[in-house]
Structure formats: C-alpha cells, structure tokens
C-alpha cells in the first residue's frame, strides 16, 4: 500500500521474543473505513431524525398470537395461491418446484456430474494429458507438437470435424482410465496372494531357522579344557571369609540390656500417646540375632525340652512355680536338688488342695499303659501327669515320644487341630506345636504364613475350650501360652485380629443379653483367661492399642453392667479388677470402675443397713437383694481361716464346697479386696484428686468395717490398706492454663513471592485469575466505547457544520445573485434615465 498511509510505532527497545501487535498502523484506511460505516449508519439516522413515516407490516397475522404458526403458514399459503390464481404463467414464480438433496438442488448436481472425477486418478491429479493440452490449447513446445502430429497423421488423411475429434479424445481418455483401474486392481490381488503365500512359508522358516543356527554354534564352540575348567572353578570357589568373632557373655548381656532399654523407651512413648503418627515404624521386638524362626533365645529361663542323664528335664520349670506357691502357703520347702523328693512333695500338695484328686490319680495310673497306645485318653490324665514320680513317667514318655512324628502338616480345621493335641501330655503338646511351627516356617514355603496364622486362632480356641471344661485344665493353658506368645511375635496382625474377634463376640453376646434381660452376667472362665492372655501378648500401657483398648472397654462393661449375685460373681469381678490393675500397672491410668467395684465388694461384706456417708453405684445397690454376700458371721470359720490363693477353677464348682470352705473363700476375697485397695492407693497417689477418689472407700474402711471381728491375718491386710490410704499428704495447687502462644500482629512487610515466569501474571488461584481477566476486559471495553462515542459526536458535529456551511454558501450565492440582478436592473434603469435625459 501507499507508504505515506502507513504509520509505524517505533519501539524504543527491541525485546527478543515479544510479539508486538500494534507496530504498524494504517490510519488513513481505518479512518475512511470508520467514516464509511458512520455514513451508512449514523448519518442515515441523523438525516431521518425528523421523519415520522412508519414502516407498516401488513403480513397476514404477523402479530396475532392466537393463531398457531402452522395455521399461520397454511393461511398465508392459501392467500398467496389465491392471488396467483388469476395470472396465467406470465410472471409465474415457483411453478416447477425444485427438488433438493441435502439442501442442494438436484438440477445443479446433475449438471456437475459431467465433471471428471479427479479423485479416481490420483497420480495425475492437476496435470493435463498431452492430447488434452494439444486439443484445447494448441499444444505446448515443439516436442509435444511432433508427437501429436505423428499420432494425428492417419487422422489427417481424412479430415475430421472438430466435434468428431473431441469425441474421439474423450473416448480415448475414458479407455485409458479404465485400463489404469483394472491394472491397479490386478496389482492389489497379486500382493494379497503373495502375502498369503508368505504367511504359509513363514511358519516353516521360523521353526527351522533357530535350530540350524544352534547347530552351527555347537559345532563352532571349542570344547573347554580341563585346565580351564579347574581355573574357573577356583575363581568361583568360596573363600574363607573372616567371620565376626563370638561375643563374650558380658557383651551379650550388654546388648540385651540396650535392646530392652530401647524397647522400654518406645513403650513409654506409646504410653504417653505422643506422636502417634511418628511411631509408625516397625517395633523392632525381634532381636538382630533372631533367625525369625519363632525361636527366641532372649532368656535362658524359658521352658525348653532338654534331656538330663537321659531323662527329660521338663519338670524343673513346673516345680519352680510350685515352690513359690508352697512358700506362700507357708508350707515347709526343702530345697533339695533331688527331683524325686520335690516331685513327691508337689504330689502331696495336690492331694491337699483337691479332695477328689486322689482317687482319680489311682484309676489313671492303672490305665496308663493302655492309654499310652490308645489315642483316646482322658483329660484328667494331662492334669495328673505332673504329679507322677519321674520313674513312672519316664518310660511312658519316651515310648510316646517315639511315636511322635517329626514333621506335622498344619491342621486345616479346628477339629484336626484338636485331635492332634487331645490325649497328649502337656510336653507332647508343646513339642507338637513347636514342630508345627518349625516345619511350616514362613520362610520355607509361600503359603505357610497364612497356615500358621490360622494355628494361632486354633490354639486360642483350644485354650478357651480347655478353660470351659468342668475341671479347667489351667496347668495346660499355663504352658500353652508360650507357643501362643511365640506365634504372636511372628504374626502380630493375625493375632490381634483373632483376639479382637473373640472380644467382639463376647461384647456382642453381652449386649444381646442386656437387651433381652436388662442385665448381664459375668462371662465364663475362658473369657477371663483371654483377657489375661491379652495382657501377656500385648503392651497394656499404650495410650491407644488396637487390642488392648477394646479389652479395656469390655472389662469396664463387665464391672459396670454385670450383676453381682453370687460368690462366683464376686470372684470373677475381683479377677477383672486384678486384670485392670495389671493393665494399668505401668501407665498408672485412672480406672473409675475399679474403685467403684472395690467399694461395692466392701459394701457387700458389711451387715445390712450400714450404708452411710458413701454411695455405691451400679451394679451394687445400697439396699435390696444380694447384700451380705461376703459377710461371715461364723466365729469358728473366722478363726480357722488361713489366707489361701483362690483357685480359678472354683468359679465353676463352687456349689460342691462346704459352708466352712465357702466362708473361707469369702474371707480370702475380702483379703484380696484389701490388697487391691492398697495397690490402687499406691498406683493413684499422684492423681490430684486422689483423696476425693478414695473418699468413700476410706469412710467405709474407717467407720463401717468390723475390724475387731476379723482374724489377725485379716486385720493385717486391713491395716496395711488403710495405712496406704491415710498416709498420703493432701496437697492442692490451683490449676493454671497452659500459656497460649501469642498471635503475631499483622505487619506491612512486603509479601515476597518467587517469580516463576517473567512477563506473565503470577499464578494465583483460578478464580482470582478469571476475576482479573474480567476486570481487564471491562476496562478495555469501556475505553473503546468512550472513544467510539467521542468519534460519533465528532462525526455528527462535522456533518452539522458542513450542512451549515453549505446552507450559508447557498444563501450567499443567492444574495449575490439577487444583488447582481438588482444591480443590473438599477443599471438598466439608470441607463434608460440617462437616455431619456439626453433625449
């Protein structure tokens, strides 16, 4: 375009990579465009501003809303037809209606059909054949012409008209086209055929080729030398590496101590419940030396199967425990090393405690021989095995041991598991379990883990079953806990799941009973044993633990929901109290239910109508039935009482015992209660409201318990408990809230943001960005609109001015004309006058 019309916006600095939109403008062009547009729109409006003519729409029913559009169309159509009816074809519109296809008239399409389909010959698209050019344009260069002329020689013999020539040419080109098409088709067919053939052959080649290659290689490869082989073997041979030296005993002890310290620290952290997230890392309870075979070498006092002088050496452990018991009972214990005598003394003890055990023992002894072979042994046997002298035991055990296979498959169901264990002695059961564990260690086969996890569940169930027997086999359970512990160490998840399952079942049962009857009863011994086992397997001091916390909840329900109606209930309740105390012994957590229950137990040991100054809570009542459960008024029984350990099996067979014994048990319960109170006092002395917690118990102990009537031993328990309660200092300091971190004031320091990309708006949230864009757009539009309006006004003003000037000019001209004519008139008139005057 004209360089004078171009305006260049000069840039001060050239910036690389920046796109400039408005560097070149055409002000003249755009101005003329704008003026033209205004002439068409604004000017027209301006000129018609005083016109009052209105356009009238006379179309039929255009503004009539009552008629539907379809009807409207029909009426219009009929009107049109009526108008056209009279006229005969002169200016006939729409006489032959057009047929259309996809909106295009068919007539036009038919016309286009004659055009050569250029798609069919793709190779020569756009180029014209020589003949065609020759015919249409008279040919190109000389070469073409020659060729054309040679072809046309014969035709020239008899001259043809132009029409004929063209027709011939058309026919020729069509023929060529057909030929090309047929060629292409045949080529396609051929390639297809070739492909098929190749596929058939290919399979043959593919099979053969590698074989032949391998043969070639085998031939080519030279046979390795003997020498070479030796050299290589030497290279790969294991060299003796320096192993770590054996650790001395001290070092081992030190390591063990360090490990225990670490574990303890971890336990404390869990207890406080700090960084529950942070301690997600695996608890490394397994020592570095552990082969992960479930075989723990941590402590030497573990129960191990060992032989001593050809005899089995299992009894030591059991006797150790018995020793303790005997010491407590005040029985004389002579610490002889001789096994026999110890065993005999143990035997005597058993006879003392269980009145009916002697006859059982006798009958069992007789059946021992056949029982060794016979798998259908009775459960008593395992009970009594312990008390037998070593000589009698030895040959039998050895015989039985010989029968035990060394490998065990993991039982698939509980029934098979049970049949595997029942009828065996405790030791045999332990060996069986150990062997099952070892033969199916998870590192040996893939599925072993799941199998062994099942064994844990079976073992738990088995223990539960043993506990629910009429005569609970607690000794067996005592031993079976060990493999349970080992399995638990191997599979913590499975173990926790199965114990949780048991707890959930128990709680669910209790909830159902409460819903139906409105009150619950204490569960059987098995559940209590499970709760005890829980405390053995899992750390009970954790702030939160997947198994222990539900166990806590369950025990709390036991102490608050279950009615205490019999002496068994009292024993069970006290057992749960012991469990609670054991659970919180390290963490020293506060258990209100425990205190309530102990208070209740004390309450039922008092004569009726003494409740003053304290309040007992559910499940105990200040008045009503089941009071005086623990009240002993028989003077003789009081005197003859000796502190004894409550046998657990008593909860199932209390009815058989005599009243004297019942009274003794009552007193033992009371003693246990005093002891628990003492332990609670020690445990909770650090609580700020210790005295408020213990207040009702203290009142009861001081004012209501008939101390003087109790035997001396009981008085001892009582006084030690009371002393523990009394001698705590009362010390209260007012509470002060923790200091809050002060909230910092808002300041005007600049916000520093990292620049990620220059020249672009910093990425904020999407909504913010959109908002900014909208604001920008609005600004731009507003400016544009103002500019437009301004320009419109200028245009109008210009128009008005030009109008005025035109008008003025016209007037001037007219005035001039008038003045001129007047001047001539005057001149003529003067000339006439002069003439007259002359004349």
């Amino acid at each position: 375009s004209n360089p004078f019309e171009v305006k260049v916006n000069r840039q001060k600095f050239d910036i690389l990579g920046r796109k400039t939109k408005n560097d070149v403008g055409l002000p003249g062009v755009s101005r003329s465009k704008a003026i033209k547009k205004r002439n068409q729109t604004l000017l027209k409006e301006y000129k018609e501003r005083e016109k009052s003519n209105v356009f009238k729409d006379r179309r039929f029913g255009e503004y009539n809303t009552k008629i539907s559009p379809d009807e409207k169309m029909i009426r219009r159509f009929t009107l049109e037809r009526q108008q056209n009816y009279g006229k005969k074809n002169i200016y006939n519109l729409n006489e032959d209606e057009e047929l259309t296809h996809y909106g295009q008239s068919l007539a036009e399409i038919e016309k286009l059909n004659d055009i050569v389909d250029s798609d069919s010959d793709t190779e020569e698209r756009g180029t014209l054949s020589a003949e065609l050019t020759a015919a249409h344009f008279g040919g190109g260069g000389g070469l073409l012409r020659k060729k054309a002329s040679s072809e046309q020689q014969e035709e020239e013999e008899k001259p043809k008209s132009r029409k004929e020539l063209i027709e011939e040419m058309i026919a020729k080109s069509k023929q060529e086209k057909q030929e090309r098409q047929s060629q292409r088709e045949s080529a396609l067919e051929l390639t297809e055929k070739l492909d098929n053939d190749w596929k058939e052959i290919q399979t043959l080649i593919a099979r053969k080729a590698p074989k032949s290659e391998r043969k070639d290689k085998a031939v080519e490869k030279p046979k390795p030398d003997d020498y070479d082989m030796i050299v290589r073997e030497l290279g790969f041979e294991m060299k003796a590496k320096p192993s770590e030296r054996m650790k001395t005993e001290e070092e081992l002890a030190k390591e063990e101590q360090a490990r225990l310290q670490k574990l303890e620290a971890e336990r404390l952290r869990r207890m406080r419940g700090i960084d529950e997230q942070a301690n997600k890392k695996k608890p490394s309870h397994v020592s570095a030396d552990d082969l992960a075979d479930g075989f723990i070498l941590d402590k030497d006092d573990r129960l191990l199967l060992s032989y001593k002088d050809g005899k089995m050496n299992i009894e030591n452990e059991v006797e150790g425990e018995k020793d303790e018991e005997e010491e407590e009972e005040g029985g004389q214990e002579d610490n002889e090393d001789d096994e026999e005598s110890e065993e005999e003394s143990a035997n005597e003890d058993e006879e003392d405690s269980a009145a009916n055990s002697h006859s059982d023992l006798e009958s069992d002894l007789e059946s021992e021989e056949e029982a060794a072979r016979n798998e259908e042994q009775k459960k008593h046997k395992t009970n009594e095995n312990k008390s037998q002298s070593a000589e009698e035991l030895d040959p039998k055990i050895e015989a039985a041991k010989a029968e035990l296979p060394y490998t065990f498959a993991v039982p698939e169901s509980y029934e098979t598991f049970k049949s595997l264990l029942t009828g065996r002695t405790i030791e045999q059961q332990l060996t069986i379990l150990e062997r099952i564990q070892k033969c199916n260690h998870p590192s040996l086969a893939a599925g072993n883990k799941a199998k062994l996890e099942k064994v844990f569940g079976f073992l738990l169930e088995y223990i539960g079953e043993l506990a629910t027997l009429d005569l609970p086999e607690l000794r067996t359970i005592d031993k079976l806990v060990l493999p349970l512990y080992n399995l638990c160490q191997m599979f913590p998840e499975a173990a926790s799941d199965s114990i949780k399952f048991i707890l959930r079942d128990a709680a669910h049962d209790m909830e159902e009973v409460i819903e139906v009857k409105g009150r619950a009863t204490f569960p059987g011994l098995d559940t209590l044993i499970y709760l005890k086992i829980t405390s053995l397997l899992f750390p009970t001091s954790d702030f939160w633990h997947p198994v222990v916390t539900p166990a806590f909840m369950y025990m709390s329900q036991l102490l608050t929901k279950c009615r205490v109606t019999t002496l068994e209930d009292v024993i069970k309740g006290l057992f749960v109290c012991c469990l609670f105390l054991e659970y919180v012994s390290l963490s020293r957590r506060f258990v209100p239910e425990l205190i309530n229950f102990l208070l209740g137990v004390l309450h039922i040991s008092l004569p009726k109508n003494q409740a003053q100054g304290y309040a007992v809570v559910h499940p105990f009542r200040p008045v009503g039935k089941n009071l005086e459960l623990l009240l002993v008024s028989d003077k003789k029984d009081l005197d003859s009482w000796q502190k004894q350990n409550l046998p657990l099996s008593i909860v199932t067979r209390l009815k058989e015992t005599s009243t004297t014994e019942m009274n003794h048990i009552r007193l033992s319960c009371l003693a246990l209660c005093f002891d628990l109170i003492k332990k609670c006092a020690v445990l909770y002395e650090s609580l700020p409201s210790f005295h408020e917690i213990m207040h009702p118990i203290r009142i009861l102990l001081k004012q209501h318990v008939p101390v003087q009537e109790y035997p001396a031993q009981m008085q001892e328990w009582y006084h030690s408990a009371l002393k523990e309660l009394e001698n705590k200092v009362k010390h209260y300091t007012p509470l002060v809230c923790e200091k809050k971190k002060p909230v910092p004031l808002k300041q005007y320091t600049p916000k520093i943001v990292k620049v990620l990309e220059f020249g672009r708006k910093q990425a904020s949230s999407k909504q913010e960005q959109e908002r900014k864009q909208l604001i920008q757009k609005h600004k731009r539009e507003l400016k544009g609109a103002i500019r437009e309006i301004r320009k419109d006004n200028q245009f109008l003003a210009r128009m008005q001015l030009s109008e005025i000037m035109e008008r003025d000019a016209a007037r001037k001209r007219k005035v001039k004309e008038l003045l001129g004519s007047l001047a001539t008139q005057e001149g003529e008139w003067k000339a006439m006058k002069r003439k007259k005057w002359k004349n």
């Binding site: 573990r302 160490q489 408020e692």
Partner: protein, 254 residues
C-alpha cells in the same frame, strides 16, 4: 401415691403425650412437684414435665436450681435416663444470666461425681462442662487461677453442702478433670486435656454424645484399623508368669 414403676411410666410419656392435650396443664403442678421431691430416677423424670410448665405456663418454682443441684448424685451417670437428664440440664444451665457461683457449683459437683462415671458418660460430661465454661467465662477461675494460694491442704469446695451458694465452689479448682486426663480410655483423656488450654469460642455439640452407649464405644474401638500392632517384649513364663504378677499372689491355677 403411685407405685414406682407406674410413676416412671407416667413421667416418661408426660411431656409429649399428656401435657400438650390438657386444657389446663397447670393442674399437673402438684403432681410434678411431689414427684420431683421423691428423689432418684423419678425426680429426674419429673424434671421434663416441670420444664414445660416453667417454660410455657409461667410456673414459678422456688429454689429450682438448688433442688436441681441436690439431685446430682453418683447414680446420674449410671441411670438409663442419663441422656434425657443432661439434655434438660443443658437447657436449664444455658441462660447466661445465672450467677457464677451457681454455675461453678454445678461444674464442680458434676466433675466430682464424674470420678465414678463410666467412659461413655465421661465423653458426654467433659464437653458439657466445657460448654458451661464458654457460657460463663466468670467460672474460668476453676481452671485458671494464676495468682492463687500456692499450697492448700484441703479442697475448698464442700461436697456435702446442699446449697450451691454455700459450697465455695469458686474458690476451688477442677482437679477432678486433671485426674481424668489420666483416664484409661484414650478419648476421655484427650477430651479432658482440652481444658488445659484456653477454650475455643464455639460450643461443642452434645446431641450425638448424650445417648452414647458403652457398646457403641466398644464397637468404635474394635473397628478402628491399625496398620501396626505393638507387641509385648517381656518374655513370659506362663499364664501368671509376669514380673510382680498380682494374680500369682492371689489366685492358683487349680
């Protein structure tokens, strides 16, 4: 004048099935007043009807709060109507025009009684007390007394005092809640530690906690998934074979 069972049955349905259909509900005043005076669970139940009369029929009940205060005894956390009672108590204590000594006495008594409460009740009563603190900031001295006497040999609060004004609750501190921070249930301990800091402004919602049952609580705990189970590291020697086992002292494996 009625047997206890019938009393309870009548009082349970009184507020929504009897009172709205009576022409003159004020006739029930005597009945309810007597029931309220009986004590125990019946008093708790009569509270609901009384509330409607006070609220909608302009009943003036002398020493209402004193009576309510004396209703609080250890059994309120154990009875069936716990949810209902605390819902009403929340309503009664929601007025911000109550004197601080009264509210403080209620707070102190409730928390003292909470020392014997089961966990499901504790989970409800601790937010309840927190709400009371929010409504009555004057009571915050119970948890925050920066310049108080250093050592006290006795809790100034008098539990046995019948009237809230004489109980000297405002001179005391909430040592009970501090004790509950050591509760065995993790949720309770967590809830109790809230009072260590200054409270947030927004009140806790009690509606979900009022009817909490022990079994629900247990179920919630059991269903929690833990990806890692901590184990006991102390090697065991038998069922009672732990160090210092309490059981070994008192029970025998027979």
């Amino acid at each position: 004048q009625l047997p206890t069972g019938l009393y309870k049955k009548v009082l349970v349905i009184l507020h929504d099935s009897i009172l709205p259909y009576m022409n003159e509900p004020t006739l029930m005043i005597d009945f309810l007043t007597v029931a309220y005076g009986i004590g125990g669970a019946i008093s708790l139940l009569a509270l609901n009807g009384l509330f409607i009369l006070i609220h909608q029929h302009n009943l003036e009940y002398p020493d209402f709060y004193k009576k309510l205060y004396s209703l609080l005894d250890p059994s309120i956390y154990h009875v069936k109507y716990r949810g209902r009672f605390f819902h009403l108590a929340d309503l009664f204590l929601s007025s911000s025009h109550l004197p601080a000594y009264l509210v403080a006495a209620f707070i102190k008594r409730l928390s003292r009684l909470a020392l014997t409460a089961p966990p499901e009740a504790l989970l409800m009563i601790i937010p309840f007390i927190c709400n009371l603190f929010r409504r009555h900031p004057a009571c915050k001295v119970l948890v925050h007394r920066p310049n108080g006497p250093e050592d006290m040999s006795e809790d100034p609060y008098i539990m046995e005092e019948e009237s809230p004004s004489e109980s000297r609750a405002l001179e005391s501190s909430l040592w009970e809640i501090r004790s509950l921070q050591n509760h065995y249930h993790p949720e309770v301990a967590k809830a109790a530690t809230v009072l260590n800091q200054s409270l947030s402004e927004i009140e806790d919602d009690l509606s979900g906690l009022l009817e909490l049952s022990a079994y629900e609580l247990f179920d919630k705990e059991v269903k929690k998934k833990a990806d890692d189970v901590a184990l006991e590291f102390e090697q065991i020697r038998g069922l009672f074979g732990k160090k210092n086992d309490i059981f070994a002292e008192h029970f025998a494996l027979d």
